[in-house]
Symmetry: C2
Subunit: 93 residues, 2 copies
Amino acid sequence: MCILAIISEEDVYTSDIIEKLKTKNLIVVEGTLYPLLTRLKKSGILDYYWVESPSGPPRKYFKLTETGKEFYRELHQSWNELVQAVSNITSKN
Amino acid sequence: MCILAIISEEDVYTSDIIEKLKTKNLIVVEGTLYPLLTRLKKSGILDYYWVESPSGPPRKYFKLTETGKEFYRELHQSWNELVQAVSNITSKN
DNA sequence: TATAATACCTTGCATAACAAAGTACCATAA
DNA sequence: TTATGGTACTTTGTTATGCAAGGTATTATA
């Protein structure tokens, strides 16, 4: 969900995502992210396009599809419900 | 963490936990919970004692160890930090 | 033409949730 | 006394996924 949140703000490539997460104290590594992005692409949530890099090989920039935007909204709502449920359980003491 | 929260309120056996979670819309099944409780016991976070049942085989009642109470506090704090971090990322739009 | 930096990708391992099936105990009805 | 049903605990096999580690490819620079 956090990855979709980042992509929903602006198109980014993998290293952007890793850095943005890191600034928020969420650590995700390449070995996790590349396969995940591939799965999200395959399931129609993301799409990508190639952009030449000023130095190095071209970059895969990801963006949300319409399906992806809707999926992100649903995910976000589920997350809020989960946070609410957990808060409900833990806040008794 | 939710399971530790429940046990921290009162000693319970497995079915109690499943029911209490269910009332909060958190679904966990036996095949998940029994092995998890065993792992928590092995790592010194939980302990249990047997109680005769009014009908059926005896029940394993779980309680938090001192280590478990401390671990739960830490988990709770980590959870809060995670919720904060996620909220930080998702609340931009 | 090496070397370094950047970017993408893959493989293998460990962990964990779950479905499903199994074992054991107890009360009650036939 | 034996079968049945309910309760409780346990195990097995499947699947998914995070990660460490290693690999491939492109570009600029020494």
